[in-house]
Amino acid sequence: MRVFEKNPLEKGLAERLREHGVSRRGFLKFCAATASMMALPPAMIPAIAAALERARRPSVIWLSFQECTGCTESLTRSHAPTVEDLILDLISLDYHHTLQAAAGEAAEAAREQAMRDNHGNYLLIVDGSLPGPDANPGYSTIAGVSNYAMLMEAVEGAAAVIAVGTCAAFGGLPAAAPNPTGAVSVMDLVKDRPVVNVSGCPPVPMVITGVLAHFLTFGRLPELDEYHRPLAFFGQSIHDRCYRRPFYDKGLFAETFDDAGARAGWCLYRLGCKGPSTYNACATMRWNSGTSWPIEAGHPCLGCAEPRFWDAGGFYVPLSVPTGPAQDYLLAAGALGAVVGGVVATSARGRVKAEAAVRQPVTVEELEQKL
């Protein structure tokens, strides 16, 4: 992996990949995977291949603020050779705290040079939230520069900003109540550049690379939802794509983590699964090269890719049960409605059972009396 390369090479990508032992076939496989990830028709594969072959490696500056490095781990801890490995060949990662070999002044100099050389064209990737302009800047600094100042300086020459992970996208853990550092998301601060939120704690690695590949192929960012997340990956809820969905539809729920239902793979809704309100690609792409994903491992979805992750209620509290103190009357009314609805539904279900129990079977002898 090349890190800290100051100048994007002038060679085409395909040539570069061959130099690194990636065959033509491997390259086309990557293009096909990219097309399918982005939900593009197979006819687009040659177009992607052609575009990527011609692509100059864009400069990428990766800023890490109040984060746990989980997002970077997610991107790099995948089995080689994969899309993730290839994508790092696609870009010139000119500055990345964790990955770069350089340290101290040399590292910061590299960042400044990349910003100068590629002004207006580089991609700015941010992971982690940062203390807002009104917060004490001392909570998080790099080389003596506050996160806020560094972000604003870097945004200036960026073509687009990709907020990787829920902290960067929505504030995440650092912004959870009571939010001692006054943390805010990237989207809260950057208003004059396109922002893509690749949320998730951590985000699915293929989603990060998918967004980068889209940018390289088409020279623009993918289509986004109302939370600025790429629709290709965040268009469907976990619930809609969950392999346990048939059990939900049948009303078969695990009640504890080790009951017979849990062992039989029933729906985890009553154990607090946030699948119905969470939009992400876990259910289709899964993790660790498609090995498994949280729900397959027997744990309910935490809703980590959604805004207000951490503050949206208890992990193990079912969705329809109100969580935490009501924040306003509307929420209180909604919660009351949910409770009453739940009570009515429960009593209605009890009703059907009771009526089914007292329903008298019809016999032919009785029918014969009617003749």
């Binding site: 009453v340 009515v344 209605a348 008298q360 079977p361």
Partner: protein, 442 residues
């Protein structure tokens, strides 16, 4: 209990009461029913898909309106608003009078063909709810006499028309004489157990003969069972799961007793959906065998190259898809594959397959003498379709559809004969060496 009316009691001393009916209605209200009623947008598209409404022009035949008793109970007892209204005494009550009025809508003017379910823009399965509503109608004493009679005969004699094995034995003797083949009876361990409908035994004996010849030709091991030969299910038509389960159980017992691998439903639409789709749910466990319609089996044999035909029908032929087969079960291409074997001048009705119009006799309408005028009214839709393509003969694969087509065409003075697809195939089988069939011939 909310404010449901206390039964005024039926005039005669019937075992069926309003309370018993309401309990049966309530027992039928499950998640899907609640979802369907809450999502109905009152668009009226179901009316435009119903031959009973279109041919009579009477808005009371709008499919969703047929469910009003079930809907009222759902709204009053299973929704919050309904329960609040119940405290204030504002709910409309389901009474015996109302059910009497609805009896015609639920039984006489609905063949449960499912076209309304198909076109509903919000996906409400209206015909399934009609089936559920019938449970309450039976239990409250509002089922039509024709269907009660058919159910009683089906349970007591084994056939809704009161047929017994000796009648079938006479047909078997005829077939064995005319074909020189043996009709296997009570053969254990064979591949297929063939079930019949009474209609085929009485009105269309050529059907059994055709099966005998085709299976002999294709080398299929099969049998009839003296224990149970009738697969039609009057319990499904009248809408009672107790009777329906009992009748399905008989078929299962016969199949298990003989240890067959497959059961073939006759050329009868509702018998097929009863045995194929509803059966395991009714008896509460999976079958130890597979269930097929005869048309599916014939198409499998065709695909395996085991049916060799010669000659083609030159008449202009068209096809009526039975709703239970095409719309409800997706058996659409199979009959067309078989038609291609033997018909060189085949023309589709304009709306066919999944979207065909019902003949008007299904869902117990044909066993319900009172419904005769409505049945013929609904047939006008089919008649118009047939007139459009002017076939010389019609082909179908359901004994009830076939009877209705014959009666309807005759009623409207149209000289178009109707043939069964199985017979049509049998007529074109390549003749085998005489030596092989000499055995058993007189």
């Amino acid at each position: 209990m909310s404010a449901t009316p206390s039964s005024t009691g039926s005039p005669e001393s019937s075992p069926f009461t309003l309370e018993r009916g309401l309990a049966a209605f309530r027992a039928e209200i499950d998640g899907p029913v609640a979802a369907f009623f809450s999502s109905c947008v009152h668009c009226g598209v179901c009316a435009q898909s119903c031959p009973f409404y279109l041919e009579t022009g009477d808005p009371k035949y709008t499919p969703i309106l047929k469910l009003e008793p079930l809907r009222l109970i759902w709204a009053a007892e299973f929704t919050l608003l309904g329960r609040l209204k119940g405290f204030l005494g504002l709910n409309k009550q389901v009474t015996d009078e109302m059910l009497s009025e609805w009896e015609e809508l639920i039984y006489d003017s609905c063949s449960m063909c499912g076209r309304c379910s198909l076109v509903c823009p919000v996906g409400n399965d209206i015909q399934a709810m009609v089936r559920k509503t019938r449970e309450g109608m039976v239990a409250s004493g509002h089922a039509p006499e024709g269907l009660i009679g058919a159910s009683v005969r089906a349970v007591q004699t084994g056939s809704p028309m009161g047929l017994q094995w000796k009648t079938l034995q006479v047909q078997i003797n005829h077939i064995e004489t005319s074909t020189g083949l043996t009709v296997p009876v009570d053969q254990a361990g064979v591949d297929y157990l063939v079930m019949l409908s009474s209609m085929e035994v009485i009105n269309f004996p050529e059907y059994l003969e055709a099966i005998t010849r085709i299976f002999d030709h294709a080398g299929v091991s099969w049998t009839l069972s003296t224990q149970c030969f009738e697969a039609t299910n009057a319990g499904i038509q009248i809408g009672n799961k107790d009777v329906a389960a009992l009748l399905v159980q008989r078929v299962v017992d016969a199949a298990v007793a003989l240890g067959v691998k497959n059961v073939i439903s006759p050329e009868c639409g509702h018998a097929y959906t009863a045995i194929r789709w509803e059966g395991p749910n009714l008896i509460g466990r999976p079958y130890p065998f597979h269930a097929f319609h005869i048309i599916e089996v014939l198409d499998q044999l065709r695909a395996a190259g085991r049916i060799k035909t010669e000659g083609m029908e030159t008449d202009r032929l068209s096809l009526h898809d039975p709703c239970n087969l095409a719309r409800k079960s997706g058996v659409i291409q199979q009959q067309r594959n078989l038609m291609d074997l033997v018909a060189e001048n085949f023309i589709e009705l304009k709306e066919h397959g999944r979207f065909q119009w019902c003949c008007g006799a299904g869902g117990g309408v044909s066993s319900n003498e009172r419904a005769e005028p409505l049945k013929l009214a609904a047939f006008k839709m089919k008649k118009a379709q047939i007139e459009e393509v002017e076939p010389e003969r019609m082909v179908t694969m359901c004994a009830t559809c076939r009877t209705q087509l014959e009666e309807g065409l005759e009623h409207f003075n149209m000289d178009i004969p109707v043939v069964g697809l199985t017979e049509l195939i049998a007529e074109h089988l390549v003749e085998r060496e005489p030596a092989e069939q000499a055995e058993g011939a007189t």
